[in-house]
Amino acid sequence: MGNFTLGRYLPLDSPIHKLDPRAKIMAMLLLLITIFFPAGWIGYGVIFVCVSVVIILSKLSVSFIWKAMKPMLFMLFFLLVINALVLKTGTVLFTIGSWSLYSDAVFQTLYIAVRLLLMIMITTCLTATTKPLEMTLGIEDLLSPFQKIGLPSHEIAMLISIALRFIPDLIDETTRIIKAQESRGVDMKEGKLMERVMAILSLIVPLFVSAFQRAEDLANAMEARGYAPGLPRTRYKQLEMKKQDWFLLACCGVLMGVIIWIAWFR
């Protein structure tokens, strides 16, 4: 788990950490859309510079972003192989036997790699600087206009926050059950097919049993403290858009305009 950085929150003290989660989510959406305008290398250069500024402001390290990017490298390599085999346009870079590598294959792959890198930079910027709970609050508020058409935005947010709350507990529980079954001679890593099936069953069944017990306890505790889905309730954490938040959105808007402009005149 230690090396897994994609989507992880980093508790640092930076101006980006203090921004309103709604502004950050909206900004992320705007930037993600912006990436898909065909603005060429210049366009990507502009976006890259802007996002880099945000990353520097949020005090994230290059290695953190790189670690998030790493799992994607395999996919990119795979893509390069396919492109190299399929794409036969552009200039020939070199030839081995009857096969030659065309420049477009490399460019296409690079193009996608850059997009992917930008997407990861942007999403990491959001998830690493926004506490899961704040994210939930932001999503709840952003979805609230859809309540009119029957979307239970509050219940969705409650669901997400409870799931987030219990993930560490479930991980602990899983480790404990694995150890308990290993003590009974289960080998989680190797064995014949039938043994593997039993090993997985011996983990899954107890996990379900305990998860159900947990759910029942939790439902009782929530009900006893006056929670009932659908009933009106107030919210402790109130979000407030400040100048900086509007500034971020304005910047993203301008950037989007510039990119569209570049794409238009290209």
């Binding site: 150890k179 079954q181 003590s183 009974r184 080998d187």
Partner: protein
């Protein structure tokens, strides 16, 4: 061959911000055939220590000698599975490890993993269940139908069916009511005294330690603070309190009576002897 820890250390999540050293240079020799209690506050490293006994955790430094094996830090351990059959480890709240459709199948699961055939495993399971005090009428029932205390018995039978030489228990009576606790402790005592199994028990319940255990190991912040006989340990209530351990009732009662002018000899160790002595004094 005894069970011994030689300069054993263990660190969780080494090299991350969450790094935490649970065991620091442990040197400890457990006497075979005895019932030993491992006590100490939460976070003192008790569970980490016992998980080294069946190699669920491996030492970062030092050597763990267990039965005829040496588990050295940094060496790739071999034949772990066989070791786990010989050192039966019962986790805290073991009822959460039950998963088979019937009780008998669940208990037979362990022996089967260690290479018993169906027939032999079932035979062993039946013996273990009877030993754990489960009536035959339950054998074909689902573990989910049982009460909490019964589930615990079945889970413990699941380990006993492996016929381990050493039985390691992590807080085996947690959450049980007083009657359930007493019968559970009687079972462990029987396994130790009559079937001559070495029993190690992590526990917070000093009444049980005092009544049933031969030896005591006190851990504090990942280090062994004391290792001796239970009798000796509890004869010094001040020392107990220094180690943040509340002495059992009878020790406290003796202490209070002595402060008030009684002179109860050290040889008085159980309720009957105490009553004999008091009766003689006040009659």
């Amino acid at each position: 061959m005894p069970i011994a820890f030689e300069n054993v250390s263990h660190t969780y999540s080494a090299g991350t911000p969450y790094e935490y050293q649970a065991l620091r240079n442990i040197n400890l020799e457990i006497t075979e055939g005895k019932m030993t209690a491992i006590i100490g506050q939460t976070g003192s490293g008790k569970s980490t220590l016992v998980q080294h006994l069946n190699a669920l955790l491996l030492p970062d430094a030092g050597i763990v000698h267990i039965l005829d094996r040496d588990i050295k830090a940094g060496e790739k351990a071999k034949k772990l599975k066989a070791l786990r059959g010989e050192v039966g480890l019962v986790f805290q709240f073991p009822e959460y490890q039950l998963f088979e459709e019937t009780i008998i199948k669940d208990v037979a699961f362990g022996p089967k993993n260690f290479g018993c055939n169906e027939e032999e495993a079932t035979k062993r399971a039946k013996e273990a269940l009877k030993l754990a005090g489960m009536d035959e009428s339950y054998f074909e029932k689902s573990p989910l139908e049982l009460s909490g205390g019964q589930k615990r018995r079945v889970a413990i039978a699941g380990i006993l069916a492996m016929d381990p030489k050493v039985l390691v228990l992590d807080e085996p009576t947690a959450g049980l009511d007083p009657a359930g606790t007493a019968s559970m402790m009687a079972l462990f005592s029987k396994l130790n005294k009559e079937m001559h199994k070495t029993v190690l028990m992590v526990t917070h319940d000093m009444e049980n330690v005092y009544t049933y255990c031969d030896d005591v190991v006190v851990l504090e912040k990942g280090q062994v603070k004391l290792h001796g006989t239970a009798r000796e340990f509890f004869s010094d209530p001040k020392k107990c309190r220094e180690l943040n351990i509340l002495p059992p009732y009878i020790v406290r009662m003796k202490e209070m009576l002595n402060e008030k002018g009684f002179d109860i000899p050290e040889s008085v160790v159980n309720m009957k002897e105490l009553a004999d002595y008091i009766a003689k004094e006040v009659k």
